[in-house]
């Protein structure tokens, strides 16, 4: 789980970027991760300004999807990135 008031952000050394040949990619120290369309939408909102609750609200609205579903998916993705030191809460 992620606290609703946590403000996820990509630390220095981690960048979400788009490249014509490789698509959306999360660039990290000596590694990179291909980001699928859903991951991209989540990560674009991890600016350190929005709370996790606000990110989930926004995604639920934008994609007219159930709140719980989005919250679980987003938490899953973000927790995995925190463990890999690619995201800070």
């Amino acid at each position: 789980m992620i606290a609703p008031d946590a403000k996820p952000r990509l630390p220095r050394g981690v960048r979400l970027t788009h490249n014509a040949a490789h698509g959306w990619v999360l660039l990290a120290p000596e590694r990179l991760f291909k980001a699928d369309a859903i991951a991209v939408e989540i990560l674009k909102r991890c600016t350190g300004e929005l709370t996790f609750a606000a990110i989930v609200d926004d995604l639920a609205k934008t994609f007219t999807a159930p709140h719980e579903c989005i919250s679980a998916d987003a938490a899953n993705l973000l927790n995995g990135l925190v463990e890999k030191k690619l995201l800070e809460l």
Binding site: R12, G13, L27, P29, E30, L32, E83, K84
Partner: protein, 392 residues
């Protein structure tokens, strides 16, 4: 040739800005024939290389060496990589980069720093590096990088002299506030192959280290990422070297030669193109060296019909050549290789003898090309421990 398959788009470019380095690590990945300062590309050429690489699709650049800090124009070079849109990683020994330079690099937009350590023990570390005081300077530079807010990886190369201190090296990386540590077992090419008998751990030590690392990964989960590069001499299958020849990455030497991997020049008969004469894109697509072992068409049995041929591409071409004399052969690390006995024979010989440190030989007063080419071919028979290269 690349047959009919589409040529993949590379991801990373290793920029060897210089071969000069104050350290003399006996497993250095640079070739035995080191390129000299007067041959090095200037900053403007690197700027063009980075732009062309980005146009080709490259996303990450690794500024390496030698010690990249030996270049006075390092900040300018790093800034141009960042301007080209590349994720910019600095791979440094930590010796030769001042705190001032580190701050300038940070301002230039550097994304990440990798600092090597040779051991967790200062005396042993300096002995392995062949440079007194290196350990302390690495410590200071790594701390400065973290203080600036840069992401830090510690790179620890593991071999017989330090393999029992992996836990301590991980602790050191945590103390330094690194987000990641790379525990890389020595890969035996060039200098490391020359020093193999003195460096290679026993099979038992490797097995213990692998088990220990797995427990460390569990213990430090979420605290530090521990990435492991396994030694391949004790493996059953070979590694897909650099993710496959001409598939994911390219390496530009200090003088501008573009290689599929850092050891590729050890294979005779390959024609490498230079960024002074061709664009990075042309070289990637058309240079003979890149097309020599691209894909799987060049493979023979037992690789040609092997179900792992798209996984490991028959293993490492440089290793196949170094150990069997045939660059198209199955990497002898593979237990299916008819030449696997070469590995068995090699690992049976472990000797505690002094390291042959990686050194540049002193620059002769004058040198002509013919002499230099001749020297290259004899370099692996030459010990050169007389001077430190200049690193101002």
């Amino acid at each position: 040739m690349a047959a009919t398959q589409a040529i993949p788009v590379p991801i990373g470019l290793l920029a060897e800005l210089t071969h000069r380095c104050p350290l003399g690590c006996p497993y250095c990945s640079n070739p035995l024939a080191l390129e000299r300062r007067e041959e090095e590309l200037d900053a403007a050429t690197w700027e063009r290389v980075f732009k062309e690489a980005a146009q080709l699709g490259v996303m990450q650049v690794h500024l390496s060496g030698g010690e990249p800090g030996a270049r006075r124009d390092l900040v300018e070079i790093a800034a141009s990589a960042r301007v080209a849109g590349l994720y910019t990683n600095l791979i440094t020994s930590g010796v030769g980069i001042t705190t001032r330079t580190m701050r300038d690099l940070w301002e230039a937009g550097l994304d990440h720093v990798q600092v090597s350590i040779q051991d967790s023990d200062a005396v042993s570390s300096d002995h392995i590096a062949g440079y007194r005081g290196a350990f302390q300077r690495k410590h200071a530079l790594a701390s400065e990088a973290v203080r600036l807010g840069l992401a830090l990886t510690i790179n620890a190369v593991v071999h017989r002299a330090n393999i029992t201190r992996i836990g301590e090296m991980v602790e050191l990386a945590i103390t330094l506030k690194a987000k990641r540590i790379e525990i890389a077992h020595v890969q035996y090419y060039g200098w490391a192959l020359k020093n193999r008998a003195a460096l290679m751990p026993t099979r038992e030590q490797v097995d213990d280290a692998i088990a220990h690392l797995e427990s460390l990964q569990r213990l430090h989960r979420g605290r530090i990422v521990i990435d492991v590069v396994l030694p391949d001499y004790y493996a059953r299958f070979p590694k897909p070297c650099v993710g496959g020849w001409g598939r994911r990455s390219l390496n530009v030497t200090p003088s501008g030669r573009v290689l599929p991997c850092h050891a590729a020049e050890s294979i005779p008969g390959l024609e490498f193109w230079n960024v002074r004469n061709h664009s990075v894109g042309e070289i990637w697509l058309s240079s003979p060296a890149f097309n020599a072992f691209r894909g799987t068409a060049f493979l023979r049995e037992p690789c040609a019909s092997c179900e792992r041929r798209e996984i490991d591409f028959g293993g490492c071409r440089c290793q196949a050549f170094a150990l069997t004399g045939d660059a198209r052969a199955t990497d002898p690390v593979c237990h299916l290789s008819p030449r696997h006995g070469v590995i068995t024979e090699l690992v049976a010989v472990l000797e505690d003898k002094p390291y042959s440190y990686r050194r540049m030989r002193p620059t002769p007063i004058s040198i002509d090309v013919v002499t230099r080419e001749k020297e290259r071919s004899h370099d692996d028979e030459t010990d050169c421990d007389s001077t430190f290269p200049d690193c101002d």
